[in-house]
């Protein structure tokens, strides 16, 4: 084989292992879900092709719609709050005005290394009425304990857990992006008489746009597939968190409690579609603003 020929073969060979597994473990399940969603397993007649019946059913299924609505609400409230905090922390760290900056940076990031299962268990106990410190403190002060696990508080309590887990991660992405802004930009801005706030607003924020977009995109994907935290809090607050509290929880209970495999595949597939659409919406909005 000639050297040129070998070189031409090399590119495909380097990407082949990844693409093979991608095909088998990514595209195949996706295709299989799409296939399953077109069938129904009936008591009489067994597995029958039903076309888009499962989708019609899903789009009119109040449990699914509530689940999606709930995660959408969660997304609208929790994500801006989390990203704003991450942004403020990153700017504070980058400003150079902090003492103990290294300690603060690592300390805020540490929750990311905590599994969401452990985070949910921990916060669940902290929220709890029996031995949670908040309940203990209010008890000592003779106040009614805040019922973090009640219906009214639950979404906020979940948002707090997710925020706690991911602020640091997003902060690090933003901080890393801030560190790559060339020094000359600051010098030029300072020469023009810009103060610290002005520099943050006019130099740092625009430079952060790609990184912010990335964090936003990850947050869309993360919030719409919310599962771990509600799944664990479900055990300590079964009356508040139903098996269809989030869309993903619903798909799970359909598949493994209800044994409705075809319908579960439909719900999974639809949920995936919702997330892809939401992600594209985010991308398009951001890009339109970038090129006016």
């Amino acid at each position: 084989m000639s050297a040129v020929r070998r070189r031409r073969m090399a590119g495909p060979l380097f990407v082949a292992p990844f693409l093979t597994l991608f095909l088998l473990l990514f595209l195949a399940p996706l295709g299989y879900a799409a296939y399953l969603s077109l069938f129904q397993n009936r008591l009489i007649g067994g597995n029958v092709f039903v076309g888009l019946d499962n989708y019609t059913q899903a789009l009119g299924d109040p449990q699914l719609l509530h689940g999606v609505g709930r995660v959408a609400l969660f997304f609208v409230i929790q994500v801006p709050l989390m990203l704003l905090l991450a942004l403020l922390f990153a700017l504070a760290l980058d400003s150079g005005l902090l003492r103990l900056a290294r300690l603060i940076r690592l300390g805020i990031f540490v929750p990311y290394a905590v599994p969401s299962v452990v985070a949910a268990l921990m916060w669940g106990y902290l929220y709890g009425p029996d031995f949670g410190p908040f309940a203990q403190l209010s008890h000592d002060l003779g106040l009614p304990a805040p019922d973090f696990l009640s219906d009214g508080w639950m979404l906020g309590s979940l948002a707090n857990i997710v925020t706690w887990e991911f602020v640091g991660y997003n902060m690090i992405i933003l901080y890393a992006a801030l560190r790559t802004i060339p020094q000359e930009l600051y010098e030029a801005a300072a020469m023009d008489g810009a103060g610290a706030w002005r520099i943050a607003w006019s130099v740092k924020l625009p430079a952060l746009k790609p990184a912010l977009l990335l964090t936003l995109l990850f947050s869309v994907i993360g919030s719409f597939q919310l599962f771990n935290e509600p799944n664990l809090l479900m055990k300590i607050a079964p009356d508040v968190i139903s098996s269809s509290y989030t869309a993903n929880l619903y798909a799970y209970s359909l598949a493994f409690t209800g044994q409705q495999v075809n319908y579960a595949a439909t719900v999974s597939f639809l949920l995936g579609l919702v997330i892809v659409f939401a992600s594209y919406a985010v991308l398009l909005t951001a890009n339109r603003r970038r090129t006016p």
């Binding site: 990514f26 399940p29 003492r99 603060i104 290394a113 599994p115 799970y252």
Partner: protein, 309 residues
């Protein structure tokens, strides 16, 4: 030869006192109010972990009877650790080892696959490369949990359910990792170096393993570390794939103990609660240590992903 005196010694004091340009920006103006505000924020992030640390020194009884954010009269961390490790014939040790196995194999595999793929896409042109790359890029947005149930159904047919492969195989494919490595390879591996190696007669595989892989180091560690965390923390996938407690990773194991502690109430399994708490603490130690030790790498790797789009 006095004319060749190094410029540094003759430079004015003002410039000599300044460290690297990167740091001159902020010199020594420090803000106490800002520091206090950030320390308050730090308190919020560390509070649950402090609680966990304190709680794991308590018996289940003391958890209920003493204030959560302070130690009880009879701290018993070692007793708790010992009981966590010996409960149910040492199943917790199994969980730890399983988690380490799943996470390390997945992370190494995913990082290597992403590195080779990213390098291939960055440094070679071939038919269909654009299409294939865009397909993978689009997959970044497909949520892994939406794939989990169909993957379970496929694996059930292939007889892979309830084996370690059920956890490892899906974790090997990391579309974002590939994207990151492509960006990283485009910058970190100069074409001139590749050409020089080719002229010297080195084969493509040899060039990749001997030269490129070394230059891809920080990006590789980033993908490695983040896959490690993702697999270590994974709950949904093992929850549906495994039903043998001896194969559980730590997350599913702890959740099953927590459910027992909840159901048992104050009865037979009343000491489960202390085990859940101590087990939680033990499960986060390895990752926190790994992150602190490797921080130089993952921070620079993340910068590459966040800056270029």
């Amino acid at each position: 030869m006095t004319t060749t005196t190094p410029p540094a010694t003759t430079a004015p004091k003002a410039t000599a006192a300044e460290p690297t340009p990167r740091r001159t920006r902020h010199r020594s103006r420090r803000s106490t109010p800002l520091t206090i505000a950030m320390l308050a924020a730090l308190g919020y992030f560390l509070l649950p972990l402090c609680w966990l640390l304190i709680a794991s020194t308590k018996s289940t009884q003391d958890l209920f009877n003493s204030f959560g954010l302070w130690f009880s009269h009879a701290p018993q961390l070692l007793t708790n650790v010992k009981e966590t490790f010996t409960q149910d014939d040492g199943v917790f040790v199994h969980w730890l080892l399983n988690t380490a196995l799943y996470a390390v194999v997945s992370a190494l595999g995913a990082a290597l696959l992403a590195a080779a793929g990213g390098y291939g896409f960055a440094k070679f042109r071939f038919r269909g490369d654009r299409l294939a790359f865009n397909l993978v890029l689009g997959a970044v947005m497909v949520p892994t949990t939406a794939l989990a149930i169909p993957t379970y159904l496929l694996f059930a047919k292939a007889g892979l359910v309830n084996t370690p492969w059920a956890i490892i195989l899906p974790s090997l494919v990391n579309p974002f990792g590939l994207y990151l490595m492509r960006i990283y390879a485009a910058d970190a591996v100069p074409d001139s170096l590749l050409e020089a190696a080719r002229i010297d007669g080195a084969g493509e595989a040899r060039i990749f393993f001997r030269i490129a892989l070394r230059l891809l180091g920080p990006g590789l560690v980033t993908v490695l570390l983040f896959t490690l965390v993702a697999t270590w923390n994974n709950y949904f996938l093992p929850l549906i794939m495994l039903n043998d407690p001896n194969l559980y990773p730590i997350t599913v194991g702890l959740a099953s103990w927590a459910a027992q502690a909840q159901n048992g109430g104050a009865g037979a399994s009343s000491d489960m609660l202390a085990l859940v708490v101590t087990g939680s603490l033990l499960s986060i130690v390895p990752l926190v240590v790994a992150f602190l030790m490797l921080q130089r790498y993952w921070q620079s790797g993340l910068a590459a992903g966040g800056v270029k789009q």
